[in-house]
Symmetry: C2
Subunit: 349 residues, 2 copies
Amino acid sequence: MTAPVAAAPLADFAAAVYGACGMDEADARLAADTLVQADLWGHQSHGLMRLSWYAARLKSGVCVARAKPETLVDAGALCVFDGHDAMGQAVAAQAMDEAVARARRHGIGAVAVRNSNHFGTAMYFTLRAARAGCVGFLSTNASPAMAPWGGRAKTIGNNPWSWAAPAGRRAPLVLDIANTAAARGKIYLAKQRGEDIPEGWAIDAQGLPTRDPVAAIDGVILPMAGHKGYAISVVMDMLSGVLTGSGFASEIAGPYQAERRSRAGHMAIAIDIAKIQPLAQFEERMEQLIAAIKAAPRAPGVEEIFYPGEIEARNDAANRAAGLSLPDDTLADLARLSRAYGLESKLPF
Amino acid sequence: MTAPVAAAPLADFAAAVYGACGMDEADARLAADTLVQADLWGHQSHGLMRLSWYAARLKSGVCVARAKPETLVDAGALCVFDGHDAMGQAVAAQAMDEAVARARRHGIGAVAVRNSNHFGTAMYFTLRAARAGCVGFLSTNASPAMAPWGGRAKTIGNNPWSWAAPAGRRAPLVLDIANTAAARGKIYLAKQRGEDIPEGWAIDAQGLPTRDPVAAIDGVILPMAGHKGYAISVVMDMLSGVLTGSGFASEIAGPYQAERRSRAGHMAIAIDIAKIQPLAQFEERMEQLIAAIKAAPRAPGVEEIFYPGEIEARNDAANRAAGLSLPDDTLADLARLSRAYGLESKLPF
């Protein structure tokens, strides 16, 4: 670790890299913000560490810098987007916003997205719905990462999904999980940091348990909660891939594969809270739910009970104040990108 | 275990009990079928074992035998039901069917349900959507069963949720899970059978790990997947309780509490597949997904890989052919009910 770096110039730098890759200003800004925001939340596995991956995919052309989603079907509360291989972050943001707009008109709205790309951190997008007074849901499929229950070869992705809801004076309630025992990004981060991974996260290519992140990347990550996590992941592929008309199962390429079209699909759903009860009443009830959770008797050694999304909100506030402490490998990656794109003057460290 | 009993006369008997409790013919038939169907799927924890619990709640009046859901809000694709404390099974079936009807008109449809009751097995209702050519989702909240992550007192329910989708020549894809490491019903079943429960399912009232189902019922069940299962359960309470305007957290009473109003809420969502792609194409794609899963290389000792919902479909076929082998305690319960309601002549064993 070197000295902390402020978020704003890091976002400017990432946007400049995306701009140099051919993205227009608005999409470049958005995609850059998703990375910096992930770091601010403490999700370094989905932060600026990934900028070089996305840049490589834009350079190879499998991710199309200036493509825009097209509406293929308009069924009222539901529509279908073809992402035309655009950056997943830009597609997901537009899909979530469109789901919110349709929820305003119909009570609930949904956008089925095909032919998109890896969109990074799902909660970035469901929080847009929460800030608009909606409950938001977003799922995606992802490249094969786990075996079916009883299998030993990668067949289905970790297929992340997220729900978010506003919570009045509290930070929003947020769920954002992959269905593996650990997100693949965390295994890459352990590899980058030269650390072992915990037991129970993965088996190696021979099917044996491993704590070596390199062996885990070559092997198979285990699902969370055993067969339940397996079943959830299959359902998220049904919803994000099979139903939307996108790729599914082994058809999906990952963000670290620079030369292969993604074919990832997403499902975005928004529910307009005010159609069911006044938003202020919902928020007051959310505050009550959170208060009940936080007031529960604590297990020995536990200082405070957190509700889902609270730790990220605290990290965000702390990191915005103190600046981001990024791993040395990530800083080296950003320096390499600055040279590759002639952006040395924009590098903020 | 005594000799197997055929499903149809068991359903007739359960319907007669519900009828004697004051339910009308159609609701009694439906509620009876949900119990027998759970047994047919191999989910004895949610089967006829529960008939006496529901009968006791109908008798005490906290579950209102002849109440019917009322539509409070019609927002187009979304509506709000007040269940008026009717049987959860009748309310959930009507909500799911109404979500399907709204999906037909708007692409996606949803029903937010307040003031319902425990509805039994969630997949019974999402399968109604799947058979109607929709992807179905249903969530509910439930009485406090787990501590928040880092806590040691029951604060939030196991809050089950389900997704289902048709799969062409295959049985539908179905997810139906509670967010605890094990469904509470399975701990009651272990108690009824006099069996230990596996490690990792629960802690006792002092916060110590236990394999005794009685101590587990007095203690706290652990969430599946650690903090992830905790977060999912909080979200399902937000969706089913806070958002719908129903009870939430400790306000919810369980089906085994004969004297307390439930206040459970549900969220039912349906997506009309044919609005996105031809149903036959979706089903063919589902068959491809399932074929890919089942063809994965198997771990040592595994005979066959199953997709979610497949085992239940096989159990259903086998049990319909052979009859249901119910635990002795359940048979004794049914015999007691037959005497209590003067229905000895209807008892099919």
